[in-house]
């Protein structure tokens, strides 16, 4: 029952908020905020309570609410489950989601669509809860699609500007491409194992009977879905544009919901991916390429939110390296810690944007440390955590991934991972220095930061600092508690403690090198970069990927559409129809001259008819 509540509460409150917004003239922000924050708060409490039960060793929960479809072999239960993986995901999604809701109360204050916003926001939480709690791939897919819908609604929230709507469409379409892969995978999977039940546990039991080639295809297609949802090459283009939405939306998409879904899905199908290491390698390659590409792009961006967007993509790349190499626990661990500091960073950035009246260019900011210490220090912690500085949360999770990569058959992933770590440290420190430390470009007298905007940062700062201890590896006195708790089909790797310390030292040194480089270049302020070198220009133009997609997909599609409209529809279809109607018309005109009212003519017709009949009779007889 409590599982059903986890789904029903956010959807219910979303419905209630939507009804209130649409059908009543109530515009009390207090009321909307109360309902809008109350629902996620409740589900956080339930999720934490249930999660605590799982920690204490309770059985995983399985609830079948009703049979949704039952056609021959196709039997889909609307079933929810709450195992260790769901527990971890649900706990941080709901808690961080609640904090973001709280932040949104401050951020959206005074917006005409306040009620609508919270209706969408709760809907987003409900969709994510459905995705995480699903007991079979079909229900997971429903959640998956609803998450896409919610993101579409929220990215295009300021729908009066057409650029925002375009961004929302882009997100939706890119996700559709991925979803196509996902659907194909589900169909194939059902064809292979659907007869014997389609819940995750049933699939796991039958997975060994599936042909290896088919399994690989399913694995790749599932990952195509993850590419779309989790913004990996080549379907990542929507993520930076998704910054068009209000900042709390970005926080929610990047930290708690949406983009983590892909990693979660791969971890959920760990029993499948563990059998197809070649596909895993493909995932890892895509992951590391995405991580590198986006980290490079992030170093040259000047829009504060876009930097964070590319940073998310880069961190997602890490996670896919982990799950691709079979270190599912490490991947989920990074999802978990990343949620804390990425939510914090987005919310901090949101506070900055509000304080500066929607200025987003970091080169026009500066010196904000004095005015908003409650934003600066949490963001400093988050930056350190994201850059993987010991002992903050990001260090342990990133270290787990790097260790898994180094110990795998392909240590190159580890090396590239360290390069990405360097870039991460560089671009994050660049952001922090330019916004908070560099001399101010404008004289601020006082910048007001509402407590709604700054207070939710504090628990997240605490989380960014300490969340990593839960999954701390053996080398640091922990016992990989999180990984053991998740009990996914991780591949066993063994690094000696000594090499693990060495790796940690190396990654910290690299992070500090990134900080130092950023400090040298940006501590005393800088102008917006004017790219001179070819490579810099490439980075600034985001490797022309958007332009490439535009030229390869958008332009030909538009041409074909125009051709269809002008030639096929206008000339061919309308022409054929015109021939029919025009011919009929001409024929009718000719016929009508026969009926001229002249009785003598009628007599002629009559007589010709009689003559013909007579001839016929003569001939037949």
């Amino acid at each position: 029952m409590s599982l059903a509540l986890l789904i029903l509460l956010p959807f219910g409150s979303s419905l209630l908020l939507g009804m209130l917004y649409l059908f009543t003239s109530l515009r009390s922000e207090r009321l909307y905020a109360l309902i809008g924050v109350g629902a996620p708060l409740l589900i956080s409490l339930i999720a934490l309570w249930l999660g605590y039960g799982q920690l204490q060793g309770a059985e995983s929960l399985h609830v079948s609410l009703f049979t949704w479809l039952s056609i021959d072999a196709l039997r889909i239960e609307f079933a929810l489950s709450f195992d260790h993986l769901s527990a971890v995901m649900m706990a941080f999604v709901s808690v961080i989601g609640t904090l973001i809701h709280l932040f949104a109360v401050g951020y959206m204050r005074g917006d005409a669509g306040f009620g609508k916003f919270f209706a969408y926001f709760n809907f987003f939480m409900g969709a994510m809860a459905l995705l995480v709690l699903a007991d079979n791939p079909i229900i997971l897919f429903i959640g998956w699609e609803l998450v896409g819908l919610a993101s579409y609604l929220l990215i295009g929230f300021y729908h009066r500007e057409s650029a925002n709507v375009t961004a929302a469409n882009k997100a939706f379409i890119a996700n559709r491409v991925g979803d196509f892969g996902f659907i194909m995978a589900l169909v194939l999977l059902f064809g292979a194992v659907g007869e014997g039940g389609f819940s995750f546990s049933a699939i796991e039991a039958q997975i060994y009977s599936v042909d290896h080639a088919l399994l690989s295809l399913i694995g790749v297609l599932l990952f195509v879905g993850a590419m779309g949802k989790s913004a990996q090459i080549p379907l990542y283009v929507w993520l930076p544009d998704a910054m068009a939405g209000p900042t709390p939306v970005s926080a929610l998409i990047h930290a708690a919901t949406m983009v983590t879904a892909g990693v979660y899905m791969v971890a959920r199908f760990d029993f499948l991916y563990v059998l197809i290491p070649a596909v895993g390698l493909f995932i890892a390659v895509i992951g590391i390429l995405s991580a590198l590409l986006s980290a490079l792009i992030a170093t040259m961006q000047s829009d504060i939110k876009k930097i964070l967007a590319y940073s998310t993509m880069s961190q997602l790349g890490y996670m896919f390296v982990a799950v691709g190499l079979g270190a599912y626990g490490a991947g989920i661990f990074h999802v978990f810690t990343h949620a804390f500091f990425k939510a914090l960073l987005f919310m901090g950035v949101g506070a900055v944007i509000i304080a500066l009246h929607h200025e987003q260019n970091i080169f026009k900011m500066g010196g904000l440390r004095r005015f908003m210490p409650l934003v600066f220090y949490p963001m400093l912690i988050a930056t350190l955590a994201l850059s993987g500085v010991a002992p903050f949360a990001g260090f342990f999770s990133k270290d787990a991934i790097l260790a898994a990569a180094v110990a795998s058959e392909y240590p190159l992933f580890g090396v590239l991972g360290l390069v990405v770590a360097f870039l991460t440290a560089y671009y994050m420190m660049r952001l922090l220095l330019l916004v908070f430390v560099a001399p101010a470009k404008h004289r601020h007298t006082s910048l007001h930061v509402s407590p709604y905007l700054s207070l939710p940062l504090l628990p997240l700062a605490l989380g960014s600092a300490v969340a990593g201890f839960w999954g701390m590896g053996g080398a640091y006195g922990g016992g990989d508690a999180l990984t053991h708790f998740l009990s996914l089909s991780d591949y066993a790797h063994h690094l000696t403690h000594k090499s693990e310390y060495l790796l940690a030292l190396l990654s910290n040194l690299i992070a500090f090198a990134g900080f130092a480089l950023a400090y040298r270049r940006f501590a005393s302020g800088a102008r917006e970069p004017q790219p001179t070198a070819l490579f810099e220009r490439w980075i600034l133009e985001r490797f022309y990927v958007d332009a490439l997609y535009h030229a390869l997909l958008v332009v030909p599609l538009r041409r074909i559409s125009l051709w269809c409209e002008r030639i096929v529809d206008d000339r061919f279809v309308d022409g054929t129809l015109g021939l029919f109607s025009g011919g009929y018309r001409t024929l009718a005109t000719h016929f009508s001259t026969l009926q001229n009212g002249n009785v003598r003519h009628y007599a002629l017709y009559f007589l010709s008819g009689v003559s013909l009949l007579s001839l016929l009779l003569l001939w037949r007889l």
Partner: protein, 103 residues
């Protein structure tokens, strides 16, 4: 004279009447053509009666001559009525059966 000659004559008269109905515009000529066709048919009736050796047909055709005379009275009255309506006995002036002329 064999009955074939009568049949030929009847057909010829009928054809003349037909051409008259179709080709002439004067209502009187049209009327006379119609009468001609009727008489041609009457002649054929009498001929067939003779061929069959059944005198009933000959009696019927005699009666029919009387009917034709009566019909002539009606026809002439109708032509007078038409002339009163349009001051014309040209068949082209009477096209009320077609829709465009009604309007």
């Amino acid at each position: 004279m064999s009955p074939l000659h009568f049949l030929l004559l009847g057909t010829l008269l009928f054809g003349i009447g037909l051409v008259g109905v179709i080709a002439r515009r004067n209502l009187f000529v049209v009327y006379m053509s119609i009468e001609l066709m009727l008489s041609a048919v009457n002649l054929l009736l009498a001929t067939f009666s003779r061929i069959r050796g059944d005198e009933g047909g000959a009696v019927l055709s005699l009666l029919l001559i009387a009917v034709i005379a009566a019909e002539a009275a009606i026809f002439l009255a109708m032509i007078i009525a038409l002339f009163r309506a349009k001051r014309s006995i040209d068949a082209h002036d009477f096209t009320q059966l077609s829709q465009e002329h009604n309007a």
